[in-house]
Amino acid sequence: MKTKQLAITACAAALATLSAGASAQISGGSVKIGVLTDLSGTYSDLAGSGAVLATRMAIDDFIAREKPAFKIEMVTADHQNKADIASNKAREWIERENVDTVTELVTTSTALAVMKVAKEKDRIAIMNGPASTPITNEQCNDVTVHYTYDTYALANGTAKAVTTQGGKNWFFLTADYAFGHSLEKDSSAVVTANGGKVLGSVRHPFPGSDFSSFLLKAQASGAQVIGLANAGADTTNAIKQAAEFGITPKQSLAGLLMFITDVHSLGLKPTQGMFLTTGFYWDRNDETRAWSKRFFDKQKKMPTMVQAGQYSSIYHYLKAVKAAGSDDTGKVMAMMKKTPINDFFAKNGQIRDDGRMVHDMYLVQVKKPADSKYPWDYYTIKATIPAAEAFQPLAQSRCPLIKK
C-alpha cells in the first residue's frame, strides 16, 4: 500500500448547449486533479483521506451545479511526508497521466519540492496542508496557490491575542526542524511587537513523546505563557503532560498550530481555555454547518480547516477552468486570481500575485467541558481577524514576483 493510488473517473455531464470550441481547449478532453497527501502518517487525520473526500465532494458538486462540458478525473497518492516521493509522484502524474493540478501537499518539504516540479512543467500546485511562509516568499512562483493558512497568520492570530490580553512573558517549546523554527520566529516577533517578552525556548527532538523535562524547564522559567511551536502528536502529548505536572492552569499554554482533530483526540479537559487560530470552524454559521454535516456523514469526523480549504480551492479551480474555457495553466491562474472566492469557507477571498489566498481567519477559544452541548462543540469564536490583517502584508513580502 506504499504508493496507494486509486483513480476514480467522474462521468461527464455532456451538455449539447455548450460550444464545441470550449471543450476543445481542455487537454486530453478532461481536467485531471492529483491529490498528493499524507494518507498514513502523522498528518493523515488533519489532511489525508478527509482531503481526498473533500476533493471528491467538490468535483461532484461542481458537476451537479455547473454542468461542465469537460470530464473531471481525480487521482490520489500517499507522499508519506517525504519530499522525494512527492516530487517523483508529481512528475509521473504530469508526464504520464497528464494531471493538470497537484493539490493538498501537507508538510512544507513536500510542498516546496512539488512547487518546483509544477513550475518546470507549467502545471498548477494548490497547497492546503503546509504551513510555512517561504512558500509565498523566497520560494514563491506563479503557478502555486497557498490557500488555507500559514505560520504568519497563526502567530499573528494566537500570539497577538494572548499577548494583548496580558500574557506578556513567553517561553517556547519548539519542534527542532524547519517548521518549528519558522513558527517560533514568527510568533516571537509578534510577541515582542505587542509589548511582550520572550524569556527563553527549548528545542525538542521531532517527533518526541515525553515532554516532561522540557515542560519542567518552561515551568522553571516562570513564563506566563508556554507557546507550543510544534504540531500533531507532539502538541497533544505536551498539553496532556502539562496538565499532569500541574503546570496548567498556573501557566497557560498557547497552541500555535492546532487542528480540531487534536482537540477532539485530547478532549476538552486538558485543552479548555486555550486560544488558537483557525481558517475554518464547522459550527460558525448555517453555511459552514450544512457543508460540514455532509462531510461528517461520510467521514465520521468534522472537517479540519485543511479539508474545508481543499474543497473550496478545488471548486474555485474548476470554476476558473470553466470560465477560462481552457485548462491552460496561465489562463486558469489568471482567472483564479481575478475571481474573488465566495463560499462557505471564505468571503471575498482573493489570491494575490505571490500565490497567497487571503481571507478572514478566526481566533477561537476552546470551551469548558460544561459549555460543550453536543459532539464537536469545541470552540467559541472570540474574534474574526479580517483578511487584510490576518496575513503577511505584501509590503513585507520577500517574493521576487512582487514589485515594490
Binding site: S40, D210, L216, K217, G232, T236, N237, G246, T261
Partner: protein, 293 residues
C-alpha cells in the same frame, strides 16, 4: 545552589523524570532480552505490542467500562495471548533459520498491526485519563511529582525484579536458562521445550503490553506510539548485552537518567545520546556491558 550553572532543584526533577522514562526502557528491553535469550528472535513487533496494550486498556475503558486496575492485568493477558498465537502459527517455523528472518517477519507484523489500528482509530490518538486514585500529586520541594509517575517507577521496578527473580531463582527459571543453553539436552530430560518457548514469548509480549497500559495515561494512545520508542529500546538491549536479564533492567534505568541529563544540558542531542553510547559500547565491549563474550 547550582551545579554547572543549573539549579539543583531543576537537576533533581530532571533526574527523576529520567528515572521514569528509564522504567519504561527497562521493562520493554527486559521483554526483548527474554525473547532473544530463549527464542533467538529479534522481536521487532515489541513496539506494536506495547501500543496494543495501551489500546486494549483504552477500548476496555471506553467500550466496556473496565477500569485501569483490571486493565493492568487483563490487557497483558489478552495481548500475551495474541503473542502466543503469533508464536505458534508463525515464529515457530523460523527458529532454525538466521536471525534476519525473525526480524523481517516481526517487522512486517508490526507494520500490519500498526496499519490496522491506524485505519480503525486514526492517527491523532485517544486520551486515557489517569485513574482517580493516582490523579493527584505531591510537592517534593524541588518539583511537583504527579503520583502516577511515582507509580510507574514502583510498578515497573516490581515487575522487572519479579521477572528477574523468577528467571534466576526459581525452578521454572532454571528450565528456561537451561533451554537457552542447550535445548536438545533439556528436551531429552523430559521437559516440554516448545511449550516453554511459547510461554516465554507470551510473557515477553505481556511485559510490552503491561508497559503500554502504564503509558496510556501519560502519553496519547496512538497507533504509532511504539514505533519511535522501539528503536531506542533496541539500543538499550544492545548496550546492556543481548539476552542479559539484569543487564537490560539496569541499562534501561541508567540510560533514562543519562537521557534526562542530556535534556538539561543540551536538549537537541537528547534523541541521539543513547545511540552515541551504543556506538561507544559496541566499540569497547561488543557483547554489551553485561553480555557474555
Amino acid at each position: 545552589m547550582e551545579i554547572f550553572g543549573i539549579p539543583t532543584a531543576l537537576l533533581g526533577s530532571q533526574l527523576l523524570v529520567g528515572l521514569i522514562n528509564g522504567s519504561f526502557y527497562a521493562i520493554l528491553s527486559l521483554g526483548l532480552a527474554i525473547i532473544f535469550g530463549l527464542l533467538n528472535i529479534i522481536n521487532f513487533c515489541h513496539g506494536a505490542q506495547y501500543m496494543m496494550g495501551a489500546f486494549v486498556a483504552w477500548i476496555a475503558l471506553t467500550r466496556f467500562g473496565i477500569n485501569y486496575w483490571v486493565a493492568l492485568i487483563a490487557a497483558p493477558l489478552i495481548v500475551g495471548a495474541v503473542g502466543v498465537v503469533i508464536e505458534r502459527l508463525m515464529l515457530r517455523r523460523l527458529y532454525k533459520l538466521d536471525h534476519l528472518y525473525g526480524l523481517l517477519l516481526t517487522f512486517g507484523l508490526a507494520l500490519i498491526i500498526e496499519g490496522i489500528f491506524r485505519d480503525q482509530y486514526g492517527i491523532s490518538g485517544e486520551s486515557y485519563d489517569v485513574p482517580e486514585l493516582l490523579s493527584s500529586g505531591i510537592n517534593l520541594g524541588f518539583m511537583f511529582l504527579p503520583i502516577y509517575r511515582a507509580w510507574i517507577i514502583v510498578a515497573s521496578l516490581t515487575v522487572c525484579f519479579g521477572t528477574w527473580y523468577m528467571i534466576e531463582r526459581t525452578k521454572l527459571g532454571a528450565y528456561l536458562r537451561a533451554g537457552t543453553e542447550n535445548s536438545q539436552m533439556v528436551q531429552a530430560l523430559g521437559i516440554n521445550v516448545p511449550l516453554l518457548i511459547t510461554f516465554t514469548y507470551g510473557y515477553g509480549v505481556a511485559l510490552a503490553a503491561f508497559a503500554g497500559v502504564l503509558a496510556a495515561p501519560v502519553f496519547q494512545v496512538n497507533p504509532l506510539m511504539g514505533s519511535n520508542l522501539i528503536i531506542v529500546v533496541f539500543a538499550v538491549v544492545v548496550i546492556g548485552g543481548m539476552g542479559s536479564i539484569m543487564g537490560s533492567i539496569l541499562t534501561g534505568l541508567g540510560l533514562g537518567l543519562i537521557e534526562g541529563l542530556t535534556k538539561v544540558f543540551y536538549p537537541e542531542a537528547s534523541s541521539v545520546i543513547v545511540f552515541v553510547i551504543m556506538v561507544i559500547v559496541l566499540l569497547v565491549r561488543p557483547a554489551g556491558l553485561f553480555g557474555k563474550t
